[in-house]
Structure formats: structure tokens, C-alpha cells
Symmetry: D2
């Protein structure tokens, strides 16, 4: 696995921060100083430390690759909305403009599609005045979209034509793959272009990065939906509040929201398979809960139980036999209602899907600060001419992570971890809901 960050060329320019802030040595980061990935040791024995997996530290460099006042930058936001996007954009613009004196900054509209002239979304020029208050709003002032990477050459042509020196890409896996490819093609074309990613995944599922921006805002907002589900469930006899939350491959939002508001009885995540039927299935456990307490709250991550949908012979399939509807929330709603109807137990179910209301929120203050820092570190990296990397955080230090490493595997909840046991503890649900 690559741990070294690619440098696009020489570094001969003296950083303007030296004079501006009287920064001393201490505050510039040297490439040689690295951070341990694993911080554990056994019996005070230093030889048990794993010193092979280390990260380069993010931060301002004393010498730069680019002359800041001549740099042309571009920012692009891709994929679904995530709290904090505007904070990151704002920070990159402010840092470039005021700290480094780099005043030519393009905003690429609607994701990578904005680099394709055929789409008709011309880049806009960004100044501090444009971005001053954008962090008060959710969403992204640039617009976003998925895809747009079908024909990389068109994108490269645009970057070349706009004379972009630093491209900041804010997006998830697909976006980072695109960024990696852009970095590769830039080298091929011999462009003086650094590609710096800020990884965006509301689900907090990037390995090697302890926390993704927007994640805290997401689970904090999700708390409102759980409160709703609880109020509704207690408001009618035998009532179930069912909340679907984000989390296609990992259940961190569902799990953290559950921990923050202890009114959930069952939390279902992609990492922990479960069955509906049988003595140890969800439906039976739900029935027991209803009979005992007359109400129940279920939180399900969107990626949970996908196998159940596939297996269900009643689920509508398209011509090729593929399941059409893969919405686990609606699937569960249907199956639960059917189950209790068959048992002649009067009940009601309130289904709540707050996803858009969550992801379109402005960042909570802690996320705002984090986004601002990510943006600043991205600019430090770009000005130094580092490329093909993302800005991460590990052991509370900001790091440079090669894109390839960052997208090499997703983080998931470990069902044998103390974290998950804590969640089980908070819900009181069985450790396993499968029939042997």
C-alpha cells in the first residue's frame, strides 16, 4: 500500500506565511516527520510498536512548488449533498486568497460535469465576497452531481484551457477515483497541476481517516427523527416508529444517532445480517416488544438487509429479474404490517425518512471548524505541489493520505467491537437475530 505522497515538481518558493505570521520552524511541517498509525504497545516494550504504517503530516510547508500569486485554482464538489460542503469551499477560497495571496479561483459547477463545456455550466470566479456567508446555508453553492467522468480527456482539456494549477475535489469514492485519474493524466500531459482531495462521505466510512466531515451533523440531525418516532410510537396503541437513515455500506450514522438518543429498540445496519422470520427473527422479537410495552422504535440504515429484499419472491422485479425497489425502509414497513395482520394484532407503523432534511443541514459548529481546517490543509498541500492525495485526520492530527490508500477499503462497524456492544446495550436488542 502506497504511503508516500507524490510531489509534482521542485519546491523552491519561499512560503509567504513566513513573513505574514512570523511562523517559526515549529509551525512549518517537515515531510520527514511522520505519524504512527497504530499507537498501542505491549508491556512498555517499544519493539512491539508497528512503525511501518505511518502518515505524512499535513500543514504549511516552508517552501512551495507554486508561486502563490500566480496560481490558478479550481474547486469542484461532487456526489450527494453533505453538511459542510460550503464550509470547505469557503475555507479554500479564504486561505488561498488572504493567506497565500492566490486570487484566481474557479468554482466548477455541478461536479465534474462542470468541466465538460457541452453541459453548458460555465465556471464561476470565486472571491471572499462570494463565499463570506455561505457556511450559514446547507448544500453547496457550486451545485453538485454524480458522474461526468466518462470522457476524461474533455475534462483534462478544460483544466488545461483554464490553466488550472491546483484542483480541489470534494467528493466520495467515485470522485476520488476521478481525481486519481486526473492526477495520472496530468502527469502524462505534463501539466503543472496538483490534485488535492477532501474526502466526503456522510457515512464516515473512509478507512485511515478517523472522521469525515458532515458525519457529526448527520447523526445529530438524525436524533430529531428518532425523537419523532418515539413520540409517534407512544402516541397510539401498538405503534411502531420506523426511521430509515443514511448508510449504504456502513451503519455509523444509525449507530451514533441511537447512542445519542436512547429510545431505539432495534437498530439494523449493513454490517450485521438479520432475518425477519423464525423464532429468532426480527418480527418475533418485535412482537414480543409490542406485547410487553405497546410501542417500539426501529432504526434501519439504508444498506441493511439488502439480501432480504433480493430473496423476497413477492418483491417486484424488472424484465431482467432484478429487484426494482430496494428501499429497506418501505420493505420493512410492508413486511411488518403484513406480519401483524396475519397474527390479527392491531398495530400501526409510522415510517420516517429524514434523509434529505439531514444531509441538507448546515454544519454543526464542530463540523464547521473541521471543514475550515480541512480546507486550509488542502491549500497548504496544493501550494506545496503535492498531488494525488486527500487530507485526512488520524490520532487527531491532520494527514496526507494517497488517494489510492484512501479508497482501498471502506470502514465498517465491527460486530465484535466494544462500540457495537455499546449500541446493543443501548437498544437491548438481541446480539444476533438469525435462526442458527
Amino acid at each position: 500500500m502506497p504511503l508516500t505522497i507524490t510531489q509534482i515538481g521542485e519546491r523552491k518558493i519561499k512560503s509567504p506565511l513566513i513573513d505574514k505570521f512570523h511562523l517559526n520552524d515549529m509551525n512549518f511541517v517537515k515531510d520527514e516527520k511522520r505519524m504512527l498509525y497504530n499507537v498501542m504497545l505491549l508491556n512498555q516494550d517499544a519493539s512491539t510498536i508497528d512503525s511501518d504504517l505511518t502518515f505524512e503530516l499535513a500543514g504549511p510547508r516552508e517552501t512551495l512548488h507554486f508561486e502563490p500569486e500566480n496560481v490558478t485554482s479550481a474547486i469542484v464538489t461532487c456526489g450527494g449533498l453533505c453538511p459542510g460542503l460550503n464550509d470547505v469551499i469557503r475555507s479554500i477560497v479564504m486561505e488561498s486568497y488572504y493567506r497565500y495571496g492566490a486570487k484566481k479561483i474557479y468554482g466548477i459547477r455541478y461536479g465534474y460535469n462542470g468541466l465538460n463545456p457541452a453541459k453548458g455550466y460555465a465556471p464561476i470566479e470565486l472571491t471572499p465576497d462570494h463565499v463570506r456567508d455561505i457556511h450559514m446555508n446547507g448544500g453547496t453553492m457550486l451545485g453538485s452531481s454524480r458522474g461526468g467522468t466518462d470522457n476524461m480527456n474533455i475534462l483534462m482539456d478544460t483544466l488545461e484551457k483554464l490553466k488550472i494549477n491546483i484542483l480541489y475535489t470534494i467528493g466520495g469514492d467515485g470522485t476520488l477515483k476521478g481525481a486519481h485519474e486526473i492526477a495520472r493524466l496530468a502527469k502524462e500531459r505534463n501539466l503543472d497541476l496538483a490534485v488535492v482531495g477532501v474526502p466526503k462521505t456522510i457515512d464516515n466510512d473512509v478507512s485511515f481517516i478517523q472522521r469525515s466531515f458532515g458525519f457529526e451533523t448527520a447523526f445529530s440531525q438524525a436524533v430529531h427523527a428518532i425523537v419523532t418516532a418515539h413520540v409517534e410510537a407512544k402516541g397510539a396503541p401498538n405503534c411502531i416508529g420506523l426511521v430509515k437513515l443514511m448508510g449504504r455500506h456502513s451503519g455509523f450514522i444509525a449507530a451514533n444517532a441511537t447512542l445519542a438518543m436512547n429510545d431505539v429498540n432495534f437498530v439494523l445496519v449493513p454490517e450485521v445480517p438479520f432475518e425477519l422470520d423464525g423464532e429468532n427473527g426480527l418480527l418475533k422479537h418485535l412482537e414480543k416488544r409490542l406485547l410487553e410495552r405497546q410501542h417500539a422504535v426501529i432504526v434501519v440504515a439504508e444498506g441493511a438487509g439488502q439480501n432480504l429484499i433480493e430473496q423476497d419472491s413477492n418483491v417486484e422485479k424488472d424484465a431482467s429479474g432484478n429487484v426494482k425497489l430496494k428501499d429497506i425502509g418501505l420493505f420493512l414497513k410492508e413486511r411488518i404490517e403484513k406480519y401483524f395482520k396475519q397474527k390479527s394484532i392491531d398495530m400501526s407503523l409510522k415510517y420516517i425518512d429524514p434523509s434529505y432534511m439531514i444531509r441538507s443541514s448546515p454544519a454543526v459548529p464542530n463540523d464547521s471548524i473541521y471543514c475550515a481546517q480541512l480546507g486550509q490543509y488542502a491549500v497548504h498541500a496544493g501550494m506545496a505541489g503535492k498531488t494525488d492525495l486527500v487530507i485526512g485526520q488520524w490520532n487527531n492530527n491532520y494527514t496526507h493520505v494517497p488517494i489510492e490508500l484512501a479508497i482501498s477499503k471502506q470502514r465498517k462497524i465491527n460486530p465484535n467491537s466494544r462500540f457495537w456492544f455499546t449500541v446493543l446495550d443501548a437498544t437491548g436488542q438481541p446480539e444476533q437475530m438469525v435462526n442458527s
Copy 2:
């Protein structure tokens, strides 16, 4: 139309408020003083005043029918959740207990069903300690449910057995019809029972009552959904944010939320028919908007456009030919997506249904105060032995409205009113979206 309030018997008991608060004449309400419904006159000419339609005023009476310390009361909440239910319950308990010294108060669980012993929901006794903090939470501490009025005699038997003297019913049309019937049967059975309603309709659609509790909270909360829709719509190319709000028969929530947050381009309500197709249909107007501005926000009340669903031949119907799915939100989503697909215009639509999150909210402070007052006036009415009435508000005064009058017709948005023109003004949508 009946305007006179029924009195269940003599009023000979001196109100305990006289001594407790040194209330003077001014603060007791006399039945003879009444309030005009219509407050307009022409050319300063008193003869143009309509003095026939008047309301009895709510408020403490100097003489009561019941001896407060011997009264047994019961409170029941029915139908769907509505912000402020707990505030009303709290207020009735506090007022009865502390102000009148009436300490026997039952909470009936899960609506009228709680008066049916077969359901197994025993009444609970309510004291100030039980209700002190309930207004901090949404929902109803008693639980609620629809129906339960199939066999009125069972309900009457329970009321008789529990020796209820005052029954406070908090609910909508169906509930009030039940309350009216209970009042009638109580007379038939010669019970010393007063029935006092607090009308509950989150949609604010009760005629003769200027404002229903929970309504302000509802449209205030709906604002978040509109903000979400706007952020999402601007976050992707050609994106539509579609919000479905409550309002089965009237569009007041949709209209007020639209006025409070001016980011809506089309608001659709039950009172104003619209068409989808044709040169002047919604779809064509939506297309124009998207082409001009690349984003749009639509707010639809759940009762809007029901005729369109009925007419649509593609909508799934059940064995008897009735439309199965009557959800205008999902219907619109489908039709809009289909339209743009046929036109080969790339777009996306984000559908937001915040209904449960809205109705389960705790009351905003202004609603809290209103609910507290409604509860107090209900107790004043009950103690005086007034029955078969609801507590209302008109011209900012609290009134007694006969149940029959209260349920005689629903209030709706008048499409020729200044109010509706103001809404049209806020959205910029065409006055009519029909092809004559």
C-alpha cells in the same frame, strides 16, 4: 344554526375563585354579554351591523353547577397527533386541581377506545405531578387513537361507572360528533355529565374558530422542509424539491409555510384545482421554470389534486375499482419524472414528507400559551355545567361554540381572497393552472 349553549342543570354553587383571587365582577363572565361574529359596518351606520350571529363568551362564571371538590373529570385525546396536546391536558389538570380544587381527574388512554373495557386500557389518575413537565414533549401522554365510537352504550356505561361529571374531549370532527352524541345520551340517561370539547385540527380548518392549536407549530416546523427542498433543488442541475404537507381538505399549512419562507415556486392546495397537462398545466409551467432557473420548489397539501389521481388510468386500483394509492406527493413525483423523461430533459426530484416530524413536535411558545388558555376555559365551562360545546376563539376573545355549529362546515382557503393572492404573489405561480 344553534348559538345557545346547553346548560345541564342549575347553577347555585359559589365559585371558589371569588375568594381565591378576589375576582371582582369584571372578571367573571356573564352569559348575557355576547360577541359579534362580524365586526364590519358601512359608512359609520350602526344599522349595517349584523347583530344576529353572536357568540357566548368563555370564562369563569360566578356561580357553578358542580361543587368543585366533588367533581370527577376525565380527559380524552383522539385522532392523529397534534402539537400542544400535552399542553392542553396539563392545563386542564392544573386548573381543575389548583384553581377549583377538583382533584379527581382521569386520563382516558388511546382515545374513545380507552372507555371500552374490552380494549384493556384502564384509565389513569392524573395529578399535577404527572403532568408538570409533559408540555416539553410532543405527542400526548394519554395516547390517542381514531374511532372507538361504534358502540356508544359501552362508552356511556364506563362514564357512568366512573361517575364522570365533566368529560373533556380533545379531537377533531369525528371526536366532536362522538362528544355531541355523548352529551345527548347523557341527557337521555339523566347523567350529571357535562361534555366540553377542545377542537383539534392541525389544519386550522374549523369555521367559527379563528385559530386551532398546534397549527402555528405545524407551519413553523414545515419551514424546515421547505428550506431543505430549496437547498436540495439548488444543489443539483435541474433539480426539483417536492414537499408534501398536511392538509386533507384545506391548504392553510402549505400556504402559511410558503408565506413564512419565500422559496416556493408552486403551492398546490385542495381548494384550487389544477391540471398536469396542457399548455397551462403544472408540468409545462414547471418545465419553463427549470429551463429558466435550473431548480424549483413545489409544496403540495395532501388533499390537493385528488381528482387527478382518480382520473389517471395508470394508477393501480383495487378489485372494486377504487384507487389504492392516493398519495398526491408520490403521484406527482411519478408524473413529473415521467414528463421530463419523455422530453429527454435530465433532471432529478427530491421528495420530502415531513408530516410525522411536524405533528410530533412540542408546541412553539405561542401555541403553548394558547393551549394553556384553552384548557383553562374548558374547565371554567365544565364547572359551570355547560355542555355539548367547544372552546373557540373569535376576534381574539375566547368563546363557547355549540358542537353542532363547530362541525357544521369546514373553513377553506378562498381562492378569490387577498390571502390567496398574497400566496400567489409569494410563489409567482399562475393564478390558474387549468386549460379552460
Copy 3:
């Protein structure tokens, strides 16, 4: 008392709303139709109605005095901040621009001072683009200030020079007096200038107007301070939470916040005198409360107990013998702490003054809508050439109130009213805290 609205000249122009909205007769307001002030009658006897005190109705007129497209308007905000100022500004601009087609609108900066060239605050031109999102923020985009009316001729010169036809003044008593004077001088100078006021008093103390904008937001925000006081009071032994709220001459904010969050034990308002010492003084009652419950919450309106400060011989006075510090909150804090120290009772007091945090809030949705309507009605009045009036609301209808009437007396809490008894009920405090 004058009830007739002054008209600055002929009305011959056909309203553009006729064509734009197909407004029918019903939606234009005729001057002859007026609204009763008092809505009560006795014994269904129409002769008991007081038909002398009536209001002209606000609303669009079929014929206008000004040609809208040639009108020059100006908006000025004066005095302290109040939630909703930006909403009113926004609404006046939008209504003038889009509905009437009047596109020349000045924003006067920092109150009447902005009309004095010597101050150096040049007017700014307002367009829909400037004001589109200002309602999301508290405060006023124009800035505000007190005074500036020392030399009215300078102000008149500026208005004349700018060729202002309609001046919208948003402010309190002092502002309205200034507006009245401007209207008078405009007549003297023979200017074609209408002066339309939107009364601003966060304290809701304008007679003849049922509700002032920003008031609901104010008491809603004040609820947070009361919750704080309660949490603090319960968090330490013998602890008192003391909250000072706005209300120089009337205690409506204090009273309504108390009703909305029932954790207050003593609410002190300007309208109800109280004493500190003696068997029936506040301090003795507070002591009893502390000994019984170990905590207490006091809410005091800033104008309460001013006589106590005057009388206190220990209060620091200036050279002329005037009391320097008139802050009732700090005065109470000092006196309470001293009292318990003398009694050797350990206690603590947490003093909370949330005034700025309250008044700088953006309007709650219900206030937003109200502000938007006030702005629209102000424009209707101005276009019709009505002058020397404010827009009010009575019996839920929008009215035209002559400025002289509006400022003729302040509304206050009536200590013998049911409203005040309800407040006493909520706190449990003695009806009177004076030693006969």
C-alpha cells in the same frame, strides 16, 4: 380622538393590481367600510354596540394617488433592534417592485440620521436582489439609530432633494412622532409625500393595535432564558435564577414568557408595584420559597420597581442627585444577596440578561408572515396617497390608524384582568407584594 385618515391628494390612477391579479371588487377595500373597535353587545341588543370608535380598513385601493412606476419610495428603520425588521423591509421592496412596478426605492441608513447629509450615511438603492434573503438574519440591513430629529428641516430638505413620494418609517413612539411631524411639514412645503408608519415596539404596548411585530419572537426566545434560570436554580443549594427581560413600561414579554414556560415563581412587571421589605415584601416571600423548595426563579421586566431604586439611599447618585444605575436586575441581585447574607442563609443567585440575544433574533415564522403582511399593507396605503398613519391590526383585520391615535396612549397589563390572574396562577406568587 382622530379616526379619519389623511389623504394627500386626488386618487385618479387605476391600480395595476386590477389587471395583474384579476382582482374583483371584493378584494379592493373601500374607505367606507369600517371595523368596530368593540365587538361586545348585551342581551342580543344591537343598541348596546358602540359604533363610534371604528377603524378604516387597510388593503389595496382600486384607485391610487401615485402612478406606481414613477413613485420614489424610501424606507427607514429607527430605534432599537426588533425581530422582523428585515422582513418588513423585504416586503415593502418586493410589494413595491413586483406588484406595483415601483422600482425606485431608497434605503435610509441608521434611522433618521441617514436623512442628514452631515452624518455621511448615503442612502442605498434597494432592489429585490438586495433583500431576497435578508429575512433569514436578525437586525436590520439598513442599520438603525435613535434620534436624528433635532433639525427637521434638514430631513425635509433631503426628502425633497431625493424626490421621495412615500416614506415608510419603521419605529416606535419617537419615530412616529417624527413621522407625524414630517407629514405636517410636507403639507406645509406642499410636497407630494405620503408618510406611512409600521409601528415597532417589541414590548407589544401600542394601544389600538392588537399585536406588534417581533413581540412573539421576543417572548419565544425569552423562554430559553427561563429554562436556563430554572436549570441553574435547581443545580445548587438555595439557588435563585433571576432573569431580566425587556419591558420598560409594560410587562407583556415577561408575562407571556412566564405563561409559555411554567417554571417561574415570581414575575415582576412595571404595572404591578411591589415592595422588597416587610412581611408581605418580595424578600420575605422569596425566603419562604427557598426554605420550602431550595430554589426559585424570578423574572423581572426592566421597567419594574423603578420607584424602589429611586428610594434606595444606598444607590449611587450623580452630582444632581439622580440615580446613576437604574438597572432593576442588578439592583434586585444586590438586595437579594444582602438580605440573605444578613439572615445568614447560604444561597447563590445567577443573573441572566438575555436582552440582546432576544432582540437580535430572526423572526419566528408567525412573525415573519405578519411582517410581510404589514409591509404589503403599508405599500397599499402609500400608493393610495394615505399619509400620517400606521398600519395596525385589530380583531384580526389590518387597519389604518392615524399616528396621533396610535401614540396617544400605551397599552399596559391590567392588574385586575383575567390575563394577569392567569399569570399569577402560573407562578403561584401573591396577588400583591405590598405591606398595606
Copy 4:
């Protein structure tokens, strides 16, 4: 510096978690596994790692010292309020009760004073029912107070009499010193008593602990005050919004709130001395800012500039020559107003002190989760018989920190750190405001 955790006796009891959760080896924590304090290395050279300073890991132990079902625990909260106190209490009760089966838990009221029978605050017994919903409220359900440690023997007598085995102390420096002393005396008295601290400092100024609970809530709430200050400052000509925030010895709350809401022009913290007068003093810089922009926002931590108050000859002193008023906020207000008066520059200043509203808030979701975890880890430590320690977090792992180490020095902002440069960057204030 001690790094080893004291164990009060043998560990022979098998943890009930083994059976309850099928916890495997991986999920129990071994004392031998420790965590590095410092995670940096140079040039991939393992010998540059500092492996001397390490922490014991927190977490469930396979063998316990106490038999859970026979344990008597007590919880005490001391000092000022801090968001999350109720979350920690709740978590300790829930974890003890449900996970370990330890059902005897006392809540000590009003801090250490509650262990002194003379004070009359009897302990209360805590069960899950008591604590289920307390995390929804700010403050502490137990009450809190400072001091109470004058006579340690009385406290020890009470602990002995109540047969307490595990004492959970939640408080700051003074509290921890008390806890350390209790641990020492327990050994002297040969009591089977473990003392486990959860460090509470809203200012986040504990060394060796990366984050203190409630801190995030604090700076998040402080954001509202900054927004207020900004709105007020822009609302009047030459207006300054001055916000005082918590931070007696460190300015982390002020600095983080500033980063989260970028509207601050000057942030003053205890770690960075500043002068008022002179060419490079705060007042001169403030004047420049006002002249340029007509408004300014200042945030001051309560511990900043204390030397200035001492030096000021005009400040009121008591008989012994000590400064009476040490409130930097009011001091600055006075000095700033005086300065501009002398310069005959009209201005106004709005002073905002939101401290109680901040510290009495319920925890934000991220803090809630953290508090819940701290409580659980405290119980794991207590059950294992570990004593004289606090639960901390470092490198995102939960740790055991000897009390002596935890209180050995405070964390402060390093004025030469990148963190502080980022803050300077956000405000644009001069790096130093002293006249050499």
C-alpha cells in the same frame, strides 16, 4: 510523573459481561496493553518514538475486584454546571444496573457537601427509572456545589457508614484533589473503596486528556452569542458587540467559537497578553476597525487581561487594596466607552454575557455520546477495583489517568501553535497587541 493506576485489591471475580455479551478476549482490555502518548516519529526511524509516556487503556476487565451484585456505588457532581452532567450520571447508573447487575447506587446531593450530614442533604437512591430521561435536561439532577472538603473525616465517615465501594466523582481540579485525598484516606482506613473520577472542565483545559465533556456544547452554544454581537454591531453606527465567554485559565471556548462563526474581529484569551493603550494597543486597533467598517465584534475569555484590571488605578479596590470587580467584560466595556468618548467618536457597545445560558444547556448529541462512554468506562474501572484515577481520552482511545497526573498541569493555548495562527487568521487581528 506517575503513570501506573492503583489497584485496591485482588481481582478474582469473573466479569458478568463474559456471559452476557459473549465477549471474546478481544473485547476485554488487558492492563499490559498501553497506548503511546506521542505518536510522531522521524524519518521512519522507530528509535525516535518516545515509548516512555504511555497510558493504561480503559475498558472492561475480564476479572473484577468487586462482586457486582453486592457493590454499593455513589455518584457525586461538584462545581459549576457543565453540559452533559446528567448524561454521565445516567450512564453510570444504567451501566452498573443493567450490565453489571449492581443495583445499589446512591446519588450524593449538592457535591461533597452532600456527604456531610450536618448539611441535611440526604443521599437519594438512583434507579434506571429515575435517570431514564434526565439527559434531555441541562444541569445535574443531583445538584452541585463547590467545596465541602474542609473536614475530610466527616466525608469518610459517611462513605464508611453508607458502605460505599465505588465513588464516582464528576468535577474539576478541586474535586479531583478531594477524590485523591479520599482514595488516600480510604487506604488508611482500610476501606474497600475505589474512587473513579470523570474530569469536568467546560474549558477543555485538562492536560493528557484530548477533550473534556461539555466543551463542544459550550462553544457550539457560544456561537449564538457571537451571531447576536454581529447583528447588534451592524445594527447601529459605530457599534461594538462584546461577548464574554468562559475560560478562566484557557481560551479554548473563545477560540473555537470564533473559528465556528467567522464574524469576530478580536478574540482575547488568557494565554495571550495584550495592552489597551498605545499605538499597538487594542483600543487603537479597535478605532481603526470602526473607522473602516463602522462595526466590530470582540470575544473575550473571562480570564483574559486580568493584569490590566490589577494595574488600573481607577478600578475600585477594597480595604486591603484588592481589586473588587475582576470582570474583564465590564472592565473592557468601561474602558472602550471612555476611550471613544475622549476621542469624541460617537459609538455604542452591546455587552453580552451568555455564560449561564451556555453551561446550562443539554449536551449536543456528540457530547451525549461521549458522556455515555465516559460513564461506562468509569464503571468498568470501578468494578475492576481501580482507584485514584480519572477516565480520559487520548488519540481517540479511552484511558486511565492517575488523578495526580491529570491535575498536574493545565492545558493552554500555545500562542505559537498553528491552532492559534488559524484563529488569528479568522479574526484578522494583529498577532500581538503590545507596545514592545
